[in-house]
């Protein structure tokens, strides 16, 4: 029996007295695009940071393709591609150098390196801009460059934290299209967080609604909507299960402002 791409059991993570994630169970099957949907402060990013070994596992079990994040963090890292919420590239390097850097950090064999770097850049539509300094890229291009960095390792599980936050609608469509093409071409498993319902609707096979550290509902976007009636939206589903709105910003509001400001500063 093959292990699922991600298995999370009883995950709980505290910052001081505050339980950011308060006992969640989650299974992401191979080849699936799975969305964690919820407002800022729901615990999505904390969940992702435990999965990618950035935060220590305090309580519960997390396995990536059968590898335990607690016992084999290095093996887990080799299987993951990660794009954080914040736009983050090395502006003083070219696009190609940025991707080549990560190819080396993931021990891509020397003979394959150039080809893999080129493939990842081409897949993200950055072939023509590859030799320009990344500091000259637009916000959408930076995000696609980050996807290329994450892909050069051929990850089994691609983890995207709010992949389109701070991007304009055109850039957002571009990122969605690339992710969609990618999963069609490779069958890659994708775990993403978002607080845009439209994003979850367009991209995800299944979603879990997170609120204040708990998962309140889980299923395909269509089933969740059908449970409420013919014209229901994911926003309605969310309100039904949590009593709150996706736009609620009372938790993590300052962080949201900061990251938006950072994004704006970089994209300029």
């Amino acid at each position: 029996m093959s292990e699922p791409a991600l298995r999370v059991q009883g995950l709980r993570h505290r910052f001081g007295d505050y339980a950011a994630v308060d006992g969640i169970d989650l299974t992401v099957e191979r080849g699936e695009v799975f969305g964690l949907l919820g407002p800022n402060g729901a615990g999505k990013t904390t969940t992702i940071r435990v999965v990618n070994t950035l935060l220590p596992l305090q309580e519960g079990e997390v396995h990536v393709l059968g590898y335990d994040v607690r016992r084999s963090p290095m093996a887990v890292r080799r299987l993951l591609g990660y794009v954080p919420q914040q736009l983050s590239i090395e502006a003083a390097l070219t696009g190609r150098e940025n991707v080549g850097w990560f190819a080396r950090l993931f021990d891509v064999p020397r003979r394959q390196r150039k080809e893999r770097v080129d493939d990842a850049l081409d897949a993200m539509g950055l072939g023509d801009a590859a030799n320009r300094l990344a500091g000259t890229y637009s916000g959408g291009m930076i995000r696609r460059l980050e996807l290329a960095q994450a892909l050069v390792n051929r990850p089994a599980l691609l983890v995207l934290d709010e992949p389109t936050v701070g991007l304009d609608p055109v850039a957002r469509d571009g990122v969605w299209r690339r992710v969609e093409e990618l999963r069609q071409a490779t069958g890659m498993t994708v775990l993403l967080t978002t607080h845009y319902m439209e994003e979850a609707d367009v991209l995800c096979d299944r979603v879990a609604l997170m609120h204040l550290g708990h998962i309140r509902a889980e299923g395909t976007p269509q089933t969740l909507k059908d449970e409420l009636g013919p014209d229901a939206s994911l926003e309605d589903v969310f309100r039904r299960h949590t009593g709150g709105s996706l736009g609620d910003d009372d938790k993590g509001g300052l962080r949201a402002v900061r990251s938006t400001r950072r994004t704006a500063g970089r994209v300029g």
Binding site: R30, N52, T53, L54, L55, L65, Y67, M74, A75, R77, R78, L79, L80, Y82, P84, Q85, Q86, L87, S88, I89, E90, A91, A92, L93, T94, E97, W101, F102, R104, L105, F106, D107, P109, E115, R116, D119, A120, D122, A123, L133, E146, Q149, L151, N153, R154, P155, A156, E181, L182, Q184, A185, T186, G187, M188, R262, R266
Partner: protein, 271 residues
């Protein structure tokens, strides 16, 4: 869309740590060289200080013979290794700012989820600081040759000098990254960097021989890694009597201490 962007569901490369260290160090050094290639202005602006030290301070003190030098050296000959070490120190001591910058820019987070042990990340970054410091050495060596300082032209001595500067810069950048892991803020690190640079410099044998120091300063100089770096440089470049073997051993030991301290704190920057 290329179907070559395939998926690998096994960790693949075996994760033997001993193979990763040289590979990561090489990668971070390569990235540093790439950055330097794209922006050479920093090389020039950083060259100003050593030029002032050698041309103004060095030439003046050379003339007034105020500082006794061992082995009948001219003061400029005595001073040049000290200025080489100092320019490396100045580059390295602010290197922690880069790691805070990378944290603020989100790059550090991504580096920390690559299959790179934290100690390999820090060692790689510290050697990258060494690359920057070595670029400064070239500037000082060229300048010293122009103003007629008599330095060794033996390739082994030159290579050895680069190695000493590399180790010195690796340690001081670890010190800087350790402080970065404690204070977590760029401006605080700037302040602390300013605060410790000059004492490190003055409590070393860079400007004057240990023999003319008061007793308490000699003690400080004896534990100061900069003194060992200067001693090694002096031995190799000017032929002065020195304990080059001991100097390298002490520098290497300090680098190990620095990497351990700094890598135990770097996780704080990711939270």
């Amino acid at each position: 869309m290329s179907a070559d962007v395939a998926v690998e569901t096994r960790p693949g490369v075996d994760a033997r740590v001993w193979r990763q260290f040289p590979s990561r160090v090489y990668t971070f050094c390569l990235v540093e060289v790439q950055k330097l290639r794209h922006d050479r202005t920093e090389l020039l602006t950083r060259a100003v200080q050593p030029v002032l030290w050698l041309l103004i301070y060095g030439e003046t003190f050379n003339r007034i013979h105020a500082i006794p030098t061992p082995d009948n050296q001219s003061y400029l000959e005595f001073l040049t290794p000290g200025i080489i070490a100092q320019s490396g120190l100045f580059v390295a001591i602010f290197y922690g700012i880069q790691i805070i910058w990378e944290r603020d820019a989100g790059v550090l987070t991504k580096l920390l989820v690559t299959p790179t042990p934290r100690s390999a990340l820090i060692l790689g970054k510290s050697f990258a600081a060494g690359i920057r410091a070595m670029a400064q050495v070239v500037v000082v060596l060229v300048l010293a040759a122009i103003i007629g300082v008599d330095l060794s032209s033996n390739p082994l001595d030159i290579i050895g000098s680069f190695a000493a500067v590399l180790l010195g810069a690796a340690f001081f950048s670890c010190l800087s990254m350790t402080v970065a892991g404690v204070v977590l803020k760029r401006d605080r690190l700037m302040g602390i960097g300013q605060m410790i640079t000059m004492p490190l410099f003055f409590a070393s044998n860079a400007l004057y021989p240990v023999s003319i120091m008061p007793g308490w300063l000699r003690v400080l100089s004896r534990v100061n890694p900069l003194s060992y770096e200067v001693d090694a440089l002096r031995g190799m470049l000017t032929g002065a009597s020195a304990h080059v073997g001991l100097d390298f051993a002490v520098l290497a030991a300090w680098v190990v201490v620095g990497v351990v301290a700094s890598s135990s704190l770097v996780g704080r920057l990711a939270r």
